[in-house]
Symmetry: C2
Subunit: 200 residues, 2 copies
DNA sequence: CTATGCCTAACGAACGTTAGTTAGTATATC
DNA sequence: GATATACTAACTAACGTTCGTTAGGCATAG
């Protein structure tokens, strides 16, 4: 009896599990769901991971580890602080816009993540780019609260993307509002000049 | 044999279910979980609701319906547009800060809500206050994209609150950054003057 | 030959849900 | 005022399914 010889590595399983967790969350995904998309039986998953929790944590770690370096490169641009801000906002918006999976996982971790996972996420993924953002903030506005400024920048970009599903039904919502270019221009001018920078 | 005569109304059950769904999400809460906090058996829930989905949808409706009018009152302030913006930001921040349950439910709906639920949420909860925010935006910055401005205002406030759990572990995160007054002042000056308004 | 990766089969627990029953309460009839 | 009727909200018991997980066997690669 010949069975197909499709040996899945641990990494391949994680890569297939990540989109599932992003879409449905930890409790919304079963070991059988994961096994199905991998193409093996649920019991076989236990040769790669001791339990579901470990599989999930490793999937998160993998989903986030690649991002860390992606973010850093976004912040190595040169030029005036204003140009660098504009460049960062544009690239960050494009990057995040292309990766709704990452955004969903981040949102879910903010909702459900325990202290240990959040601490790890902060240290291994966001620490470095966050510091780069803070130093950019310090250059732009010496003496400002760099922590709050960095959060504000990220919040403007991420929330425009995350609210896309409901903004369709809110007054004035247009398809254009989901385009990375439109968002990044709006955010940049808002940051540089306040609301009055949003005049036509 | 005397059984305790503790009759639970449908509304009481919903009120008890709401915090559970806020904390653990739809798939993270079982009918028995809900029954336990209500103090009845799971089967008895089916005298009030035909199934879990309906219970959840009614719980969401109830959790959100009170908010609709709360938001509207926040926007009936008078004065110069700048003062009104400052007042709105302050009140909205305080309101949202006091209600992490509502924020969690909103975030979960953005992640998991289907088109029908999001459309309902937009129409019944956010439509009116959103229009009020847009007219405020139009007063402040005639000819601006009011939709984007309204979203930006909300995003600044909500993301500062939602990221609180992870900001503890990010550089420069202080307890003060979670205080409604600090957040609303930061957001107001950012909106009115851009980043340079954040100078000390 | 050993280790690995997958299989089938099964476990106990929990899941959403249904059926049938009981106690209490309000309403209508005699 | 007593009695019958109907309704409500709870109960116990169980259904079939799915959950995470374990045990044991078979095949392939090194």
């Amino acid at each position: 009896m010949m069975r197909p010889v499709i040996q899945k590595t641990t990494e391949e399983i994680l890569d297939l599990a990540i989109p599932l967790f992003a879409q449905s969350g930890y409790t919304g995904v079963s070991m059988r769901n994961i096994a199905d998309v991998v193409g093996i039986k649920a019991a076989s998953l236990y040769h790669h991971f001791p339990d579901k929790q470990t599989l999930y944590i490793q999937a998160m770690a993998r989903a986030f580890e690649d991002k860390a370096q992606g973010f850093s490169t976004v912040l190595t641009v040169t030029g005036t602080p204003e140009k660098r801000l504009a460049g960062f906002v544009q690239m960050f918006t494009t990057l995040m816009s292309k990766d709704p999976e990452f955004r969903a996982l981040l949102q879910r971790e903010l909702l459900d993540g325990d202290e240990v996972r959040l601490k790890q996420l902060a240290r291994e993924v966001f620490h470095e780019p966050f510091i780069a953002m803070e130093s950019l903030a310090e250059e732009l506005v010496p003496g400002c609260d760099t922590h709050m400024v960095a959060i504000s920048i990220a919040s403007l970009i991420l929330y425009h993307l995350e609210t896309a599903p409901i903004r369709r039904y809110l007054p004035g919502g247009k398809t254009r509002h989901n385009k990375p270019d439109v968002i990044s221009r709006h955010v940049t001018s808002l940051l540089l000049h306040g609301l009055k920078g949003c005049r036509k």
